[in-house]
């Protein structure tokens, strides 16, 4: 049974090796930023190659459990890794200016991004609650530090502190849930839990159910589902601009990846209970996220609340259980790309290490930086779920899953919220194009400098959002193999 397949953890190993290499090279050579860039690129390439090998292994009928049943190599795990790799590459490009600006501490920042990516990738591959917890902590702790990595920024310190304290709280809840699940079933491995629940008629499932609920809370915190979302606006607002897109997208993908394994495998037997619970959280997230986003005067906080609503849409689809998995992955992949694209534009506006970005800064952006404004407008339109963007297709699949699963009321709530959401998404678009720039001293039409790394992220994000929005076939086809 103890089978160690290094391939099933190869992408993470490559990333961690890259992180170690960056730190070591930094200690001994004190190289210029571009050397770190080369090492990081090599790590990403190696990780990508490992994912390709994993796909090939899966295609040949390989895969399965390894590392004593802690990790699984299945299409879901491989696909989640691929999505996270894209997010990490885009996130690194987006954060590059900020990282390079850290000077002597640059290596720290770069290695933290690599380690965080490895952690969240592991979350998607873990099928043991202990392993999920370890992966969660690897990813989360790296993110806590990244939030406060710019020492000169008090807002960043505050964000990091809040993220850490609340994250620790959520982790405690999660591990407590794991303990209760173990108490009830005698197993931490999700397949063992599944087997136990199938083989035995549990007379008093209260302990198991409470454990399951606490596990959901722990993951709900990571994916910013209401009411476990309160950290997100403050952290997104305070953390250095360059890294927020990565932070938001990676945590969401990792959290959902683990939640899918936990609920769809471990607690499949209790689907009746958890899908009702998810439906309530989903409705709450969609409604609260939308309502709170409307009142914001800061783009990052607005995006944080919109992220709460999007977590709600994803949970809406999850209520249908396993059949929704491929739709979930499409949504996660496309939403992450939109999110990183939107935050790339935010980075361009508020500077690589800046905190906060009030709506006023976006007035007249259409003239100051046509590219950034156009991509930001496109991502807003896509997030609102307009047809011919990936946002529409993702949302459509979520609603279709929930409808088929019998949660018609949830779909209606989601549709109503989607309509209300146009208000704040389009408000930003109107500001950028139809309101003149502010006149406090500086030239309202001064062109905004757009670093080449940001430009690439913007263009890639726009291309993905549009191309797969009009022609989703290939991406859907790739992801439905999950």
């Amino acid at each position: 049974m103890i089978d160690v397949s290094y391939l099933s953890a190869a992408p993470e190993m490559m990333l961690v090796l890259g992180a170690v290499a960056v730190l070591m090279v930094d200690v001994f050579a004190k190289p210029p930023p571009r050397v770190h860039g080369w090492i990081t690129a090599a790590a990403y390439l190696a990780a990508g190659a490992s994912i390709v090998l994993q796909w090939q292994r899966l295609g040949a009928g390989g895969g399965g459990l390894s590392f004593g049943g802690a990790l699984v190599l299945d299409p879901w795990a491989a696909a989640v890794r691929a999505v996270l790799l894209v997010v990490a590459v885009l996130g690194t490009l987006c954060a590059w200016e900020m990282l390079a600006g850290l000077g002597r501490r640059m290596a720290e920042g770069v290695s933290l991004v690599l380690v965080a990516t490895a952690g969240f990738m592991l979350m998607g591959a873990s099928v043991d609650l202990v392993m999920v917890f370890i992966a969660l902590e690897i990813g989360s702790i790296a993110l806590y530090v990244l939030a406060g990595i710019v020492r000169s920024s008090p807002a960043g310190d505050e964000a990091a502190m809040k993220y850490f304290l609340l994250g620790a709280f959520a982790s405690a809840i999660f591990i407590y849930g794991g303990a209760l699940a173990y108490a009830g079933t005698g197993a931490t491995n999700l397949f063992d839990i599944e087997r136990f629940l199938n083989d035995y008629l549990v007379a008093r499932p209260a302990v198991i159910l409470i454990g399951m609920a606490l596990l959901v809370v722990g993951m709900g915190f990571k994916v910013t589902a209401a009411p476990f979302h309160s950290w997100a606006p403050d952290v997104y607002q305070g953390a250095p601009a360059g890294v927020v897109g990565f932070m938001a997208a990676a945590a969401k993908v990792g959290g959902f990846a683990a939640l899918v394994h936990i609920l769809f495998i471990g607690f499949a037997r209790y689907q009746g209970a958890w899908s009702d619970g998810l439906a309530v959280i989903a409705a709450l997230s969609v409604v609260l996220g939308t309502l709170l986003a409307i009142g914001q005067s800061d783009v990052r906080r607005m995006l944080a609340y919109s992220g709460v609503a999007h977590a709600g849409f994803l949970l809406t689809g999850m209520t249908a259980g396993a059949p929704a998995a491929d739709g979930l992955l499409f949504y996660l992949a496309t939403y992450s790309v939109m999110l990183v694209g939107a935050f790339a534009a935010v980075t361009a506006v508020s500077g690589p290490a800046g905190a906060g970005s009030s709506f006023d800064e976006y007035r007249g952006l259409g003239r100051r930086s046509p590219v950034a404004a156009a991509v930001l407008a496109l991502t807003m339109i896509a997030m609102s779920g307009m047809p011919l963007t990936t946002g529409f297709i993702g949302k459509f699949q979520m609603f279709a899953s929930a409808w088929d699963g019998g949660y018609e009321w949830l779909v209606i709530v989601g549709l109503a919220a989607s309509v209300a959401a146009f208000f704040f998404y389009l408000r930003l678009v109107v500001l950028m194009y139809f309101r003149p720039g502010e006149e406090n001293g500086r030239d309202p039409d001064a062109p905004l400098p757009l670093p080449v790394t940001i430009r690439w992220v913007l263009l890639f994000s726009a291309a993905v959002t549009l191309v797969f929005g009009i022609y989703p076939g290939p991406l859907l086809g790739l992801l439905t193999r999950v």
Partner: protein, 633 residues
């Protein structure tokens, strides 16, 4: 070959994109090169792909190929699929073949226009859209093409948008087509509701097993509304005469040869549905007959050279509707093909005349152009004789087949045959009248006009079309029904109505319709060529009243204006003033305000204190645990 059929659409689309971005930079004559080559390339590709259809041994099922491109919107069951069968091949070849000639012609016609590149962008976009329309294998994709050709038509009618009349004409075409599109959209919804799919393959395969005659009638009548809008039939034909405000190549390509035949194509394509409903078929034939006759009478009294041809197009489309209404699909499509050739020729000839007369379109100020423009004159003469139904030109064979099919149906349809015959006489008359007014007699143009033959880039397409007008009719004569056999696989399982096979009857019908054509020409000759100025004035004076009515098109525009547009505008103003500003805005502002207030209420949740966030998290966890535990126990 067939697997890569999308190339046919991609070529003109690519050229359109090229000219959109680079058209201005590459300059006047060169912008047309990719435009022409792409359409000609699409024609060649389609011809090669259609090669298999000519091999008669192939089993008929094999002649229908579905090319699956990609899953478009899987949740809605809409797939991007192309259908390649003989009917699609015929339409593709007409669109790209005639289209290529008109593109070449347009190089001369649009010479010197500041938006030369933009013109070809739109023209190519139109070709690509029309090909999507004819190659679609489901109603969703058909609708995409349908709307895109409408958009291109609108853009091209108002191409010279600085003229108020052109802008107004574009708007009119747009609005009238929306009425038709509404019917079409409702039809699509009904089809989707009844069949659960929009794919031709499933809907048109023995639809009688899924829907009854009543539902089929409803669907077909709704489709007919859409077809009447696009193909300018009663009562939605009013936009087409005004559409002549567009450049003449546009009139030839879109408003004569291709787009306006989309309705005919659609009815023929959905023949399996129309076969279920005698009512809908009868309605189509009746609308067609009425339109044909009405438009022919209006054409008799027009003075503008292009408006004569516009009403003539409406009238000829009426013929096609008569044919498809009685399930004479091959007859209808045959006339569609021949009409595309000779009407494109007539429009291009008219364009050549207008070009020569420096923009003059009034036939009263033409005359005697025979010697000044020999090539235009010769080709126009051939086309005029063709549309008048003089054997052995193309128009004779196709019109004759339609009349024969109607006669074969018998009963009520004999009346429609009579209308068709009368229309044939009128057609010959007004076309001959146009010929004599433009080319015959003495010059009536004013001082300073110097008519001249058009440049070769315009006359060569005229000559090609002229040759085709002579030859193309022979693809389907009663002696050899090649076209009908060619199309047969596309109408597998559809009850086709054929022309009678009785040789005596056929000959008699042909003689009668030829006689109608000859009589029409003779009257026009006597009135407009032979008679002296005074005699003509006296003769026309006697029928002044009907002529006046016809010249104004039965005052239909005025009636529509009084009955529909004016009350419509009043309603619109009321809605804008009262309903929108007070009711809707009030509601929206109210809801928006309520939402904002709700958002404001919720803001205290976000105090910024870690302890309150932690409390919220803990409370949420407790609530969720309680909820799940309560549900699960």
């Amino acid at each position: 070959m067939v697997d890569y059929l999308w190339i046919v659409i991609a070529l003109p689309l690519g050229a359109a994109l090229f000219n959109h971005f680079l058209g201005r930079r590459v300059g006047e004559p060169r912008a047309a090169v990719p435009a022409i080559l792409s359409v000609a390339g699409a024609f060649v590709y389609a011809a090669l792909a259609a090669r298999d259809f000519f091999v008669s041994e192939r089993a008929s099922e094999e002649a229908v190929t579905v090319v699956r491109l990609f899953d478009w919107i899987p949740g809605l069951g809409a797939t991007a699929e192309l259908l390649w069968d003989p009917m699609a091949a015929v339409m593709t070849l007409v669109v790209t073949g005639v289209g290529a000639l008109i593109h070449i012609y347009a190089v001369g016609y649009m010479h010197g226009d500041p938006r030369f590149g933009r013109f070809f962008t739109y023209l190519n976009l139109f070709i690509a859209s029309m090909l999507i329309l004819v190659l679609a294998n489901n109603f969703a994709l058909l609708f995409v093409g349908w709307e895109l050709v409408g958009l291109c038509s609108y853009l091209l009618i108002s191409f010279w948008y600085t003229r108020p009349s052109a802008a107004a004409a574009g708007k009119k075409a747009f609005v009238v087509n929306r009425i038709g599109d509404f019917g079409f959209m409702v039809a699509l919804m009904v089809i989707f509701a009844a069949f659960g799919t929009l794919s031709y393959t499933e809907v048109l395969h023995e639809p009688g097993e899924v829907i009854g005659a009543g539902a089929a009638t409803a669907v077909c009548l709704l489709l007919l509304v859409g077809a009447a809008g696009k193909s300018a039939q009663l009562p939605l034909y009013v936009w087409l005469p005004d559409a002549m405000e567009g450049p003449t190549p546009v009139s030839a390509l879109i408003h004569a040869a291709t787009m306006v035949t989309a309705g005919v194509y659609m009815v023929a394509r959905t023949g399996a549905l129309f076969g279920l409903s005698d009512v809908a078929g009868g309605a189509a034939a009746t609308v067609g007959a009425l339109t044909a006759l009405l438009a022919a009478t209006i054409a008799v009294a027009q003075r503008d050279i292009k408006r004569v041809l516009a009403y003539s197009t409406i009238s000829q489309l009426g013929y096609m509707f008569m044919a498809v209404g009685v399930a004479g699909y091959t007859a209808g499509l045959f006339h569609l093909v021949t009409h595309a050739v000779f009407k494109a020729l007539l429009f291009l000839g008219a364009g050549s005349v207008i070009h020569a007369m420096a923009g003059e379109q009034n036939m009263d100020r033409m005359g005697g152009l025979r010697r000044k423009m020999p090539i235009t004159h010769l080709t126009m003469l051939v086309a005029t004789l063709s549309i008048a139904g003089i054997p052995p030109l193309a128009g004779f064979w196709s019109k004759d087949e339609i009349l024969a099919v109607l006669f074969a149906k018998g009963g009520y349809y004999t009346v429609l045959w009579g209308a068709g015959l009368l229309t044939a006489l009128l057609t010959a008359f007004y076309m001959a009248r146009q010929y004599f007014l433009v080319f015959g007699g003495e010059a009536r143009w004013g001082e300073g006009a110097e008519p001249h033959e058009s440049p070769r880039i315009m006359t060569v397409p005229l000559l090609v079309l002229g040759v085709l007008t002579v030859l193309i009719g022979f693809v389907n004569t009663p002696f050899r029904l090649s076209f009908e056999h060619f199309l047969a696989p596309a109408f597998e399982g559809v009850g086709l109505l054929h022309a009678p096979e009785d040789g005596f009857l056929l000959t008699a019908l042909a003689l009668v319709s030829t006689a109608a054509g000859v009589v029409g020409i003779a009257i026009a000759y006597l009135v407009y060529h032979h008679a002296s100025e005074d005699t003509r004035e006296r003769l026309l004076g006697r029928v002044r009243r009907p002529l006046m009515t016809w010249e104004h098109g039965y005052w239909v525009d005025e009636v529509y204006g009084r009955l529909i547009v004016k009350p419509g505008l009043a309603l619109a103003n009321w809605s804008a003033g009262f309903v929108d500003q007070r009711v809707i805005d009030g509601l929206v502002n109210g809801i928006g305000g309520a939402v904002r207030r709700a958002g404001g209420r919720l803001r205290p949740l976000q105090s910024g204190f870690v302890r309150s966030y932690g409390a919220l998290l803990a409370l949420g966890a407790v609530a969720l645990v309680a909820w799940i535990a309560a549900r699960g126990l």
